[in-house]
């Protein structure tokens, strides 16, 4: 044994201080772990995170006005819309010049479409003028103010110029304001007229229906989870298959099953008529409305509620209930005061999961929801693929994503993402 009195740091086998040697080993370990994760992280970043970020960016990006009408934007900088006066000749000349270039490159229709979202009617003004301005000689054909107004009265409207000025920045809050039924008015954001408000209704409906679905899942799932957790293992496993099979069955299969069953000439209505509950002449309307969406989505999301509740209930010791009863509690008191509070984590986990999934649903509402039972996702899809108003679609998407991420964060705090179990 060497001297124990030896002072100074403890050394590792290779002569470096032990502390440093350990730190290096730990660093190596961390690096190795990160090296294993890095390929996937990179993959997810490129295939998933970047696309989503790119889309969200579209909700505020607004370079098109600046790019297409550069001279006009510059000339308009000095103009004050509050003055009530039309911009001066310089602005009109700049507009004529910009329009000529844009019409040549056929980009004036794009900017017209963009501005039309904010001020319906602008599109036709631009299209009409673009064709004619192309033939003008910019040096000699002035003054352009009268000539432009002559082509279309729209140019004499202060609102048109105000819209162009308002939306000439690189970034805009316009899409987001639009998504919550507001617009950029003369004095900042203002609420849209009553007849143009649709998006708030849609958001509220999505939330309300998701809540209804979540509650029906709790109501239907609780007894099932209870019976699964309290039956002998063999029987419980057999019954669990009845929960897992829908979970594994294709979403489209389940949706088509509901679409077929809920029809007016479908199996459910046939059975009800046969039993005599419903008159053949007034068969129930179960599909293409809110009810259809709620029934189908409750069925589709129910396993996501049952499984977390079941795993929590499995851990609850049955002797607590017996103890409560032997202390004189009635069945109801024992359940409500002793058993139920212990199942709250399971209910919470299941509810957040079901709500997160329900809020973003697209396929089922699109197929069984008709017009009354569609969700915000359907509107986003409409703006991305049909109307072409990508910015608005992106803004609605950003709002939906914010709601979901907030709930995801809560879920992580309450349950922990590590504890998510499948099947």
């Amino acid at each position: 044994m060497t001297d124990i009195s030896h002072s100074g740091p403890v050394l590792a086998a290779d002569g470096t201080p032990l502390k440093r040697s350990l730190a290096r080993a730990l660093r190596m370990q961390k690096l190795r772990a990160l090296m294993l994760i890095a390929p996937l992280l990179l993959f997810i970043l490129v295939t998933f995170i970047l696309p989503v970020a790119d889309m969200l960016f579209r909700s505020v990006e607004n370079r098109i006005v600046q790019d297409t009408l550069p001279q006009t934007v510059e000339a308009l900088a000095d103009w004050d819309p509050a003055s009530g006066q039309l911009p001066d000749e310089a602005v009109f000349a700049a507009m004529a010049a910009d329009l000529q270039v844009a019409a040549e490159q056929k980009t004036h229709t794009k900017v017209a479409k963009r501005l039309n979202y904010e001020n319906p009617g602008l599109s036709s003004v631009f299209r009409k003028s673009g064709r004619k301005v192309k033939k003008w000689d910019l040096a000699t054909d002035g003054p352009f103010r009268e000539k432009l107004i002559e082509i279309d009265d729209g140019w004499g409207d202060i609102e048109l110029w105000r819209t162009i000025k308002t939306y000439s920045g690189t970034f805009t809050s316009g899409y987001f304001l639009n998504a919550v039924d507001m617009q950029l008015g003369a004095e900042g954001p203002e609420i849209r007229p009553e007849n143009e408000r649709i998006y708030n209704t849609m958001l509220v409906r999505t939330m309300r229906m998701s809540l209804i679905i979540t509650f029906s899942c709790i109501l239907l799932g609780y007894p099932v989870a209870w019976i699964l957790a309290n039956l002998p293992a063999r029987k419980a496993n057999l019954l669990l298959i009845l929960v897992l099979l829908p979970f594994w069955t294709s979403l489209l299969v389940r949706t088509s099953a509901w679409k077929i069953l809920l029809q007016q000439q479908g199996v459910i209505n046939d059975t009800l008529v046969w039993i005599g509950l419903v008159d053949d002449a007034n068969r129930l309307v179960l599909i293409n409305n809110e009810l259809g969406t709620i029934i189908a989505m409750t069925h589709i999301l129910l396993p996501f509620m049952i499984l977390p509740m079941y795993s929590v209930m499995q851990t609850i010791n049955p002797s607590y209930l017996r103890a409560a009863k032997s202390l004189g509690a009635t069945d109801w008191t024992a359940f409500w005061r002793v058993y139920f509070p212990q199942t709250v984590p399971g209910i919470g986990a299941g509810s957040i999961l079901v709500f997160i999934l329900a809020v973003g649903y697209y396929i089922t509402p699109a197929l069984v929801g008709g017009t009354k039972g569609t969700f915000i996702s359907n509107l986003i899809a409409y703006h991305i693929s049909t109307s072409g108003n990508w910015g608005l679609g992106a803004a609605l998407g950003a709002i939906l994503l914010a709601v979901v991420l907030l709930l995801y964060w809560v879920y992580d705090k309450v349950v922990g993402i590590d504890n998510v179990k499948l099947g």
């Binding site: 997810i44 298959i241 077929i260 679609g393 993402i417």
Partner: protein, 284 residues
């Protein structure tokens, strides 16, 4: 919920049986819509409801004509082949990346573990329509929109959370001294991985892979946006069918898909029990 005690009151007895009936009804609600389409798919008529012949169990009322239509119809066949081309590729990509990352994540010291986990699970959380729209714009920009590779990459991204979750769950029960023992006896890390670690976590990897497969095989929103007509998958074809004119062939397709789900579910359950038995847990 063991048997009712002999001293139970009438009220308790009534509730006991009422409760069972309620549970039975919920189970019925869960399973009936899936079961009911199976006999309907053998309907000899083009109806979506039971014909009187079917109710009489008359063989005349049943036929395989919807199945024949599925196997003879070009658009259904090409849709099926597209699905079978896309799903396995997406599964391979997500299982390869996912397993490596799960092993990295289950090391004892991982910096930013929580944040990394949150990012890797996010494809499961973000609403599909947002993922789909984002991928549509981004993939068009880099020329992947409407290509086979684009759809495979998108589906692989969606399948990764499932692989991560199942494989990390398996790794929780993994005994690290086994890899140390292998290293001690002179095996290099690659040999250790393939000869020692991989066989033990294989059940988790396979069930993760099955989840990834079914995710891609069932997926319709992303493929609607990222794919073009050349990548029309089975769910896409079903979606169109349901949306435009609904033909009873869909019932046959649905039945086939239910059969596939039952097979996958059985495999996953078997693997789960096997791995629990191996780890010495009681097979619950």
């Amino acid at each position: 919920m063991s048997a009712l005690p002999p001293y139970a009151t009438v009220g308790q007895r009534t509730w006991h049986y009422t409760f069972r009936v309620i549970c039975g009804l919920v189970f019925f609600f869960l399973i009936a819509p899936i079961v009911v389409i199976i006999p309907l798919s053998f309907n000899a008529q083009d109806f979506f409801t039971f014909t009187p012949e079917m109710l009489r169990l008359d063989p005349e009322g049943y036929s395989l004509k919807h199945y024949r239509d599925f196997f003879n119809n070009d658009s259904w066949q090409s849709a099926m082949w597209n699905s079978l081309k896309i799903a396995p590729m997406a599964t391979i990509v997500s299982v390869t990346f996912g397993t490596l990352a799960a092993i990295g994540l289950s090391q004892p010291h991982v910096p930013f573990r929580r944040a990394i986990m949150a990012i890797l699970i996010s494809p499961m959380i973000v609403p599909l329509i947002i993922s789909a729209a984002g991928m549509y714009f981004f993939y068009s920009r880099i020329g992947l929109q409407g290509t086979y590779i684009g759809v495979v990459l998108a589906h692989a991204a969606l399948g990764i959370p499932f692989v991560i979750i199942t494989v990390t769950a398996t790794l929780v029960g993994f005994d690290r001294s086994l890899t140390r023992a292998a290293a001690n006896m002179g095996a290099d890390p690659v040999t250790t991985f393939f000869r020692v670690q991989m066989p033990l976590i294989l059940p988790g990897v396979i069930s993760g892979g099955l989840f990834a497969f079914i995710t891609s095989f069932d997926e319709v929103v992303v493929v609607l946006f990222v794919g073009s007509a050349g990548q029309k998958t089975l769910p896409w074809q079903m979606f169109i069918g349901l949306r435009e004119q609904i033909s009873p062939t869909i019932l046959a397709v649905a039945t086939i898909l239910v059969a596939i789900s039952i097979m996958l579910l059985a495999t996953v359950e078997m693997l789960r029990r096997r791995s629990e038995r191996l780890r010495g847990m009681s097979p619950s």
